[in-house]
């Protein structure tokens, strides 16, 4: 994980340490390691700690994965259990 020139900036919104959040984070890390090794950055935001951030990214479902970079912003909600959908959603793999 080199900190510069990340092609993918990902943000995962969670609310506390729930089972869904844990699953989602684990799934996300797994896919990124597999497909985007070295080009990604994951930021986990706990809305219970920072509720004011929910509005900015238009979060209403938990967990939500937001792809900030590259544009356009994409959102994937759910525990990210479907790898195919996540990869398509993040535009890693063409649909």
């Amino acid at each position: 994980m080199t900190p510069k020139a990340k092609a993918y900036e990902l943000r995962l919104y969670v609310a506390g340490n729930t089972a869904k959040s844990v699953t989602a984070l684990a799934n996300l890390k797994k896919y990124c390691e597999e497909h985007l090794k070295g080009q990604y950055k994951i930021e986990v935001i706990d809305l219970l700690v920072q509720p004011q951030l929910a509005e900015g990214d238009q979060i209403f479902a938990i967990p939500t994965l937001v792809r900030k970079v590259p544009e356009p912003i994409r959102k994937i909600i759910g525990d990210l259990s479907n790898e195919e959908k996540v990869l398509v959603g993040l535009n890693i793999r063409p649909a």
Partner: protein
């Protein structure tokens, strides 16, 4: 009595449902205090019926009037769009937000940029809402329109479960929530069946177009644990927001006044027992075209203004300027009262909006201006907007409302046929307290106006037909002439009067000459009497003269006889001396 009863009830039941006033004109009256406090209320209806506005007004009024900050969570419009939309109503959302009395949170849901995979929940929404509520310490929350979630997300099972949780969560938070929902096809009130979740209070808004005239209506479908009006109530959206009109009060227990107000026409007051109408009563003036109904109404308005009372003149036919100009011709100057602010003209075409809207508009203006007298001229035109029964029901409610406010009202109504009916065309004659009828009397090639009082509740009134005359000096009533040839009016009456006057002069003349004759006769008689007296005097004198002559003769004879006797005795002169 009713109030005491209520108080008692609330004492007995300490857990009486608490209510949050909405601040929306009329709505709190229908719901007897507002929507349930600390519980969600559903407002549903078709697109464009005013859901968003009503919910936003609930929040804004709460923040401005009840010091209850609110959160408006918008799923449809951005905060800036909302602010622009309601700026025309005088709601300054930006300022309220700056004052921390209002928080608008726009939730953007775009299916195109969302992918769903696996389990999720709406905790994010809860957190946002919770954060917003805490930020302004909100007591009121609006979710407009929650159903947009359904278009953005596909997992219905999760959504439904989460909605249930959301409403539960809102209750726990203790905020009074309003949720709006779009009306679906078929029987359900909302497309997604939100009414299943909101069980405390459901308000349905409706926007109907009948005869090309649209009317918004509101109905409370459900209000658990509270009495509420069950009818459909029309409501109006204008520059001051929403006003709902609670129109039918079921009770007939209004205050009555025995105070009288003058009609402005002394002769008419005289017909009404000398004092005029009761204050707060309703008066109907009906008649055929051109019989002077508007003139009577204008007189009534002028009289109210002269008493320095306020008056509203609702004109459905002529423009205010037209009325003012026309009334000047009969010596009624309304302009000066308009300038003084005592008289207000509200002119509108009946077709401008529906009957109910007219009623709401009148209701509002009357509440605001607080007149003592209201004139509707004419009510007949309202029939163009509704049918007779609708007009009647509207007028019932108007009269009801006006009596409650102790406002005297005068309606004018045009009768379409010349035959006098027992009923007016609007069927309101049974509702009004006094009914004046102005009618044409056609006779002898001219048309005259006759007026009589059909009814006047609670006072002695004349049963006579009077002739009603309009001159450039004003209105007046004169007694019709009841002669051997029947009722005479107009020039026939004048002719009859003239004839009578001629007769009188002739009679006067005749009497005069007789008097003179008498005087003459007396003079002649007196002359005769003096003549006779003279005759008598002369006769008497004659008699006297004869008598005196007789005496003289006697004396002379006596003397002569004495002398003769003396001479015989020969005493001559000596005797004479002795005797002396």
């Amino acid at each position: 009595m009713a109030k005491d009863h209520k108080k008692e009830k609330s004492k007995l039941h300490p857990a009486y449902l608490e209510k949050t006033p909405t601040g929306i004109t009329g709505l709190d009256e229908i719901t007897e205090g507002g929507i349930p406090k600390g519980r969600p209320t559903l407002i549903c209806g078709q697109a464009g019926c005013g859901k968003t506005l009503m919910s936003l007004e609930f929040i804004v009024r709460g923040a401005m009037e009840f010091n209850e900050p609110g959160v408006f969570m918008a799923f449809e419009e951005k905060a800036s769009e909302l602010a622009v939309n309601v700026a025309s109503l005088g709601f300054d959302l930006e300022k309220l937000q700056a004052d921390k009395k209002l928080r608008i949170d726009y939730v953007h849901i775009d299916r195109a940029e969302i992918e769903e995979t696996g389990e999720y929940n709406l905790e994010g929404l809860f957190i946002r809402l919770g954060y917003a509520i805490d930020a302004v310490n909100a007591k009121r929350v609006v979710l407009d329109t929650l159903e947009n979630l359904f278009s953005g997300l596909s997992n219905q099972a999760i959504l439904r479960a989460e909605l249930r949780r959301l409403f539960q969560w809102l209750k726990e938070k203790g905020v009074t929530a309003v949720i709006t929902g779009e009306r679906g096809d078929g029987k359900s009130l909302t497309r997604q069946g939100l009414e299943e979740y909101v069980s405390d209070c459901v308000i349905l808004l409706d926007h109907r177009v009948i005869n090309q005239i649209s009317t918004r209506r509101l109905r409370i479908i459900k209000y658990r644990g509270s009495i509420h009006g069950t009818n459909e109530y029309p409501f109006l959206i204008d520059e001051e927001g929403i006003s709902v009109l609670p129109i039918t009060s079921l009770k007939l227990e209004k205050e009555v006044s025995s105070e009288r107000v003058s009609s402005g026409i002394p002769a008419l007051d005289h017909m009404l027992g000398g004092k005029g109408f009761f204050k707060g009563s309703s008066i109907l003036v009906s008649g055929t075209a051109g019989t002077g109904k508007t003139s009577i109404a204008a007189y009534f308005a002028e009289e109210a203004c002269r008493r320095k009372e306020k008056c509203i003149y609702f004109a459905f036919e002529e423009s205010p300027k037209q009325i003012i100009r026309n009334m000047k011709s009969i010596n009624v100057d309304l302009q000066k009262y308009v300038e003084k602010g005592l008289l207000k003209f509200i002119a509108s075409r009946p077709t401008l909006y529906g009957l109910e809207m007219h009623l709401v508009a009148m209701y509002k203006i009357i509440k605001k201006f607080k007149p003592s007298t209201v004139i509707l001229d004419p009510i007949t035109n309202l029939v163009t907007v509704g049918n007779v029964s609708e007009v009647k029901s509207m007028l019932i409610r108007l009269i009801d409302f006006l009596q409650e406010e102790q406002v005297t009202v005068m309606f004018t109504a045009l009768s379409l046929n010349t035959i006098v009916n027992e009923q007016t065309d609007e069927g309101v004659s049974s509702l009004v307290d006094a009914w004046l009828l102005v009618r044409d009397i056609e006779f002898n090639g001219e048309r005259n106006r006759g007026m009589y009082i059909m009814k006047s509740r609670g006072m002695k009134h004349s049963n006579q037909v009077r002739e009603f005359i309009i001159t450039d000096k004003g209105l007046d009533l004169v007694e019709v002439y009841l002669g051997p040839e029947g009722v005479l009016t107009g020039s026939a009456r004048e002719a009859q009067k003239l004839q009578e006057a001629t007769g009188e002069v002739l009679r006067d003349f005749a009497v005069g000459s007789k008097d003179r004759e008498l005087i003459r006769k007396r003079k002649v008689l007196e002359a005769k009497i003096s003549n006779l007296q003279m005759e008598f005097e002369s006769a008497e004198e004659e008699l006297n003269k004869m008598y005196q002559e007789d005496q003289l003769v006697k004396q002379v004879a006596n003397k002569t006889r004495q002398e003769i006797t003396n001479l015989r005795r020969g005493t001559g002169a000596d005797d004479k001396e002795v005797k002396k």
